[in-house]
Amino acid sequence: MRRLRHWGPGLLLLSPSLILLAVFVYGLIAWTTKVSVSDEHTALGSKGFVGLDNYTNLFTNDIQDRFVHSLKNLAVFTVVFLVGAMFFGLLWAFILERGVRAEGFFRTVYLFPMAVSFVASGVVWRWLMNPNMDDNAGGLNAVFVAMHLDFLQSAWWTNPTWGMASMAIPAVWQLSGYVMALFLAGFRGIPHELREAAAMDGASTYRLYRNVIFPQLTPVALSALIIIGHMSMKMFDLIMSVSGPQWLTEVPAIYVWQSLLTSDYAKAAAISIVLLLLVAIVIVPYLIYTNRVEKNS
């Protein structure tokens, strides 16, 4: 009874949210899972149980290996997005951390793409990544021609092999500033005494960064990787806006949408659950890890 009086009011305040999340996150995931093991392939909706057939079909029996193709696209996109955003984010943070005049101005400009929606930025990136070349070149290709770097011209996302790497360029443009902000906060978190102690020991600037500062940034780098990584796996808006739904640039998130348009609910559900599992593999260990770190501190 005393315990109830102690925890009761708090739980009461928390309970509406807990119920909503139980229903709308976990309940609906369960529901989607149920659809994914049914044969609901049309709007008519028969609900027979087919086990894992929809999943195995995705991997082994999809027309032109469409699902595997979308996973490959996602992999290429994610690698370029992660490497690009981490590289520029760290580089920009490093430049600003070294101290530049009007640092606030640079920071604001580097970060501003974050405030723009993918749908809006997709409008201009579609134009910048125009595949026309040489005399007809526009967008980035025109810049390369003007700089006499013609060999850098690209078909961008219309290239069947590496198109998805180009698709990651707008994503890198949009999120590098965010990674920069995370790293700047990381630099800030390093105690001054640490730098001073290293300086007293006569450490060179290179050694100071190599041995003292960068190791301190590991947790921030991990956070950034996780956030960018899970955003990448869910990527939908950007691709819809730049290329629209089409074979060349299809990723699982878009495949779900395309399947729903043809009322293939079971397939859409199965793809969604695979996507969820992909995200969970990354996120769950991360959440457990942060929980443990917090408890130890």
Binding site: G10, F24, T32, F88, V100, P113, V119, V124, A185, K295
Partner: protein
């Protein structure tokens, strides 16, 4: 998960204190900083320049040129096409920002003070909700919002953004309270006989403004910029601006100048929020990182 939210001014002081000296290293530094500045602004240049063009002035090969004749005709056209959705999106983003923030504050307060058994697990389960790909809930979600009778379009979107915004807002406030509200304050209220609700309403809420600024900006921006929920749960007649912009820009032979003007109109509110409240915006970004 401590100290996630940076006090608003802290980033300013990261580097400002250090003196920059001029040498070969610093020339490279400034050259790089400027180069990246130009690269980041390049798409903005194309957007602005193109939006003031019309007719034959618009073309792929002349993309980088300034307009031969400056005109606002394309802005006019884009505004006419986007206006209803633009106004609707305020009806979406403002309630979402306010409601999710209040919910987040209540949850964050409870989770930061009441270490009930299993609190860590509950918190982790809440957090997981912000990482899920929403496709995994979308199929039944469409049915369920209809079944429980929420009107389609903006009201439905307000509801789903509030629900799926609970994790991030709870996280932001939990960290805010854990780091900025002294235990003694809550304890003193308890000694005075104030219950949880009274403590929350009279002691905690008044000192929560920085947390509110962060969640309001965060939720306003994500509701304004959302496309995924919008395309699943609304259409061009009752949906938000991203749907309208995509209809304007995604047509078979889109009017590029009007599309670009439309993209600028679409981005104006969030950019304004960002420029005016940028320091807190960054605080919100930090908060999204779970842990710093």
């Amino acid at each position: 998960m401590t100290a996630v939210i940076a006090p608003p001014s802290s980033l300013e002081t990261v580097v400002a204190k250090r003196k920059s000296s001029f040498g070969p290293g610093s020339i490279i530094k400034y050259a790089l900083a400027l180069l990246f500045l130009i690269i980041v602004l390049m798409p903005m240049y194309v957007l602005i320049v193109t939006s003031f063009k019309a007719g034959s002035d618009i073309g792929v090969t002349s993309q980088w040129n300034l307009p031969a004749h400056w005109t606002v005709a394309s802005w006019d056209k884009a505004w006419t096409a986007l206006r209803p959705a633009f106004l609707r999106t305020f009806e979406l983003a403002i309630p979402v920002a306010v409601i999710s923030s209040v919910i987040g504050a209540a949850n964050g307060f409870v989770l930061s003070r009441w270490r009930f058994p299993g609190a860590d697990l509950v918190f982790t389960l809440i957090l997981f909700g912000m990482f899920i790909p929403y496709q995994a809930v979308m199929i039944p979600l469409r049915d369920i919002v209809t079944t429980i009778g929420i009107p389609p379009g903006i009201p439905t979107l307000v509801f789903v953004h509030c629900v799926y915004g609970i994790p991030i807002c709870t996280l932001i406030f939990r960290n805010y309270y854990a780091t900025t509200v002294p235990e003694e304050l809550v304890e003193a209220a308890r000694v005075d006989g104030a219950g949880l609700l009274r403590t929350f309403a009279w002691i905690i809420l008044p000192i929560s403004i920085p947390g509110f600024v962060v969640t309001i900006i965060w939720q306003f921006t994500s509701a304004w910029n959302d496309y995924l929920f919008a395309i699943f749960l609304s259409n061009t007649r009752n949906g938000p601006i991203t749907i309208a912009l995509n209809a304007l820009a995604g047509a078979q032979s889109p009017d590029y100048a009007a599309s670009m003007a439309g993209a600028l109109i679409t981005s104006l509110p969030t950019l304004l929020v960002y420029v005016l409240l940028g320091r807190w915006f960054i605080g919100g970004l930090m908060a999204g990182s779970v842990k710093s």
